[in-house]
Symmetry: C2
Subunit: 328 residues, 2 copies
């Protein structure tokens, strides 16, 4: 199989790549698992973490905002595309034009390239729970009324995935992700970034500010579970998805206070006391527009697994990213 990952050296793209290379298989055009022969990782940015070293991997530094680039990368031999490349929520809110250019036009370039491909590739579009807005509790049929440009752009991408799939141009599916916690690495421009930072920085010995109230809840998912969900949604049977290709990924909903309490229990007072509490009204407003509780029947029926607890999320980070070591 030949697979392309856009945003392939980013946080999720890289971890998906490593998982695919280790598994060495993915559901292919035959409808069964097929061996992974070629994996293109395309990214417009310099990798923050070392990309996978593997003879099956091709690294391409390119920007999918150029339709010709998208077409060149997604040629007639491509079987599957994972589209991660995006401007995150805070970035799309700060730079309206850039958000539409990357998140809408860039996605459309990828979709058009898949349409132009000789085959009917499977396309996994990275959506977000930010497509919802104004509803605290969400279910599969909650209307998409995003309150951010990022959410509007992702909802638009989902509409296109449905339409291109209905027309048979590709076999698309969209995965609506909760906030990824704990993101490894440096903070990014996502408005939700603090939810990772308040756990990550103290565990790594740094101080951090929490810009929202302890009562605030967020729907979260660990990177490990997210990567598995991308493989699951890719491998899901098209018939089972039906005409609505957007699947909500359930998360867990600890309050910020519960997240810090779990950190304190696992890592101790010294670590948890590295958090300060200066409110930021803009971030609080944006986070408040996102849902708190998700009950997605479709994702559950498809077998997608959220984390068991906030304790598991923290321990997963310590194991996967810190080699089991907490900074005292």
């Amino acid at each position: 199989m030949k697979v392309v990952i856009t945003g392939g050296t980013g946080m999720l793209g890289r971890r998906l790549a490593l998982r695919l290379l280790a598994a060495d298989e993915l559901v292919g055009p035959s409808g069964k698992n097929e061996p992974l022969e070629h994996l293109t990782l395309v990214d417009a940015f310099t990798p923050a973490e070392p990309p996978p070293e593997d003879p099956r991997v091709e690294l391409v530094s390119a920007n999918i905002c150029d339709p010709a680039v998208a077409r060149r990368l997604i040629d007639d031999s491509v079987d599957s595309v994972f589209h991660f490349a995006a401007v995150v929520s805070g970035g799309a809110e700060a730079d309206f034009d850039l958000g539409y250019q990357v998140n809408l036009d860039g996605a459309r370039n990828v979709f058009e390239a898949c349409r132009a491909s000789a085959g009917v590739p499977r396309v996994v579009f990275t959506s977000s729970l930010a497509v919802y807005g104004g509803f605290r509790d969400i279910v599969d049929d909650t209307p998409l009324t995003p309150q951010t440009s990022y959410g509007a752009q992702k909802a638009t991408g989902e509409l296109m995935v449905n339409d291109y799939s209905r027309k048979g141009f590709f076999d698309g599916r969209s995965l609506r992700l909760p906030t990824i916690v704990i993101r490894p690495g440096k903070p990014n421009a996502a408005a939700s970034g603090f939810a990772s930072s308040i756990l990550r920085e103290p565990l790594q010995g740094d101080t951090v500010n929490c810009p929202v109230s302890a009562e605030t809840r967020m729907l979260i998912l660990s990177p490990r579970r997210a990567v598995q969900a991308f493989i699951d949604v890719h491998n899901a049977d098209a018939e089972q998805l039906g005409f609505r290709r957007g699947v909500m990924m359930n998360g867990i909903s600890p309050s910020i206070g519960e997240m810090v309490a779990a950190l304190r229990e696992i890592a101790g007072d010294t670590v948890a006391d590295r958090i300060s509490w200066e409110p930021d009204a803009q971030i609080q407003w944006m986070v408040d527009s996102w849902p708190w509780y998700a009950n997605g029947v479709r994702g559950r029926e498809l077998g997608f697994q959220p984390d068991a607890s906030i304790e598991e999320v923290i321990q997963t980070f310590i194991d996967d990213e810190l080699g089991g070591q907490i900074a005292d």
Copy 2:
């Protein structure tokens, strides 16, 4: 006030123009009715009906698919824009690229021009009940899962109207129209066109084929009521609309059989017997993906009025378009 209507010489655009010119007022930047000073009717097509002759009217033959054209038409002095220009459902289904080019990129050009304008114009976006799909009964909170490219493009436009309005770039509102019945003039490429044709052609002395079953129901609205709804949604208070700028316009839901029975009662057997019944599976499939019953509380609370009955719809057409004369 200075008003621009895209698709301004089309069926609805022209009738809205005539109504605005007659009323000579519209809610303006002051929040109160202001006199109509200038009305630009822009259209890419040669008018099928004579455009309004009025010193306040400027006719422009141009295509909003060119961003520079949109910007030139919507200059800093524009107060309100009604965006009708679109490729209809059957056309967008037949020509995928043209549909996205006009219905998505063209709308975006209009939105960008309004954003670039010095003021904060009111923008009325013509949406459609085709944004729904897979649900027979629709309410305000029914999720938008369109089953046609036209519906996907209109749902995308609604997302943008919400997002641009939230950012304060313009004061947008989207009106989700039922099928307009009875459309005057020649049949167009709308998949729903037969619903007008089966009434219009017999009333004008012509034979016509009905491509769907007598049991099929459609949500319909007369042109007269539609024009009023556009004025109503334009004049609605932004506060009352809130963050969701898409309002569903309720229609009535006669079956095709009931429509023909009403025609027979009003116009007699000779007229009603001009209908033949050859099914068309493609049209039946597309119409079956549209909703049958609408119960929109928001539109009702805003005071939008559907027609009273199918009999009223037919009589309105005879009065407004045939000068009271039925062809024997």
